[in-house]
């Protein structure tokens, strides 16, 4: 199957700002046929898309709570429906926050421990390589990707966490260069160094770091590309 035949939908909310980056990387780096979905558009059924990306940014200025207002916009009803039917849905950064606020993923995002916006490269340990988002990632691989967020301090109750753990839904944890999951490598105070989780069915994932900013050599890392390659692989093999 040609990558061009794979259709990706990228949601655009007022204030989304990583939409263009995801669009460009999917189309020109991975040759996928990606297009935008405007938040107000009455798309009742998203099934023509092979996968959906909710990109990062500051939807509604991140006012009130990050992701809260976008999670309540009409297109999210369609996304919920799409996800319920098993559609592959990836939320990046603000997209992760939106998925949490929309109840598609468990837990909440608090402000970073530093109470500051943090932009830097982090390392991620991949805990589960059997998901649509990580099936091309080498087992236990350490990936380098940038973060850029103010509210990435993931929080959930102990019982929620052990539930996630049991279902292998904790996909990425912040780690050091060598893969050690240490306090020092946690950039925002997130509980158990969690950087990315999935729903229990495994078809919805949110992560704070930006794979689209680390899919080309010239930008210092191609590791983020593994996430997109995984999705493509998964769709092709499906």
């Amino acid at each position: 199957m040609d990558n061009k035949k794979i259709k990706a939908g990228i949601t655009v909310f007022p204030g989304s700002n990583c939409d263009a980056d995801v669009y460009r990387v999917l189309n020109s780096v991975f040759g996928v046929n990606a297009s935008f979905i405007w938040h107000k558009d009455e798309i009742k059924d998203l099934k023509k898309y092979d996968f959906i990306v909710i990109p990062g940014g500051f939807s509604y200025g991140d006012y009130l709570r990050s992701g809260a207002l976008a999670a309540r916009s009409p297109v999210m009803e369609s996304v919920k429906d799409y996800a319920a039917k098993g559609g592959i849905t990836l939320g990046i950064c603000n997209g992760f926050q939106i998925l949490l606020e929309a109840g598609l993923l468990d837990g909440v995002m608090l402000a970073n421990r530093s109470l500051k916006f943090e932009c830097k490269d982090v390392y991620l340990k991949t805990l589960n390589t059997e998901t649509p988002f990580t099936c091309a990632v080498e087992k236990g691989a350490v990936l380098k990707m940038p973060i850029a967020h103010h509210d990435g301090n993931y929080f959930a109750t102990e019982s929620l966490i052990s539930g996630l753990d049991g279902k292998k839904s904790i996909i990425f944890k912040y780690c050091d260069e060598k893969g050690g999951i240490t306090a020092g490598s946690n950039p925002n105070g997130s509980i158990r160094n969690i950087a990315g989780i999935s729903n229990s069915a495994g078809n919805v994932m949110g992560l704070m770091p930006h794979p689209e900013r680390s899919s080309e050599k010239i930008l210092g890392s191609e590791d983020g590309g593994w996430i997109f390659k995984s999705i493509i692989k998964y769709i092709k093999e499906k």
Binding site: A68, V108, G189
Partner: protein, 84 residues
Amino acid sequence: MAKKAFIKVVLKEEVLDPQGKAVLSVLKSSGYGNVKDVRVGKYIELDFNEDKSGKRRPLEEEAEEISEKVLSNPLIEEFSIEIK
């Protein structure tokens, strides 16, 4: 007739409040050592149009729904409403 709802949204007690902590440390270092704890929440005013028809559901109900669905995240926050 009442047309305003005043809503306080606060973090649940068991949830860590990094902002409150930061304020506390500023207060301590500025000589306000008597302060033991600080919690920072939100205070939201909703101003409603007048109900000319008289047929709308009570403001309490609408404010309650808005608070629950939009203004707060029930996983970490709780709210209280005052109608004036």
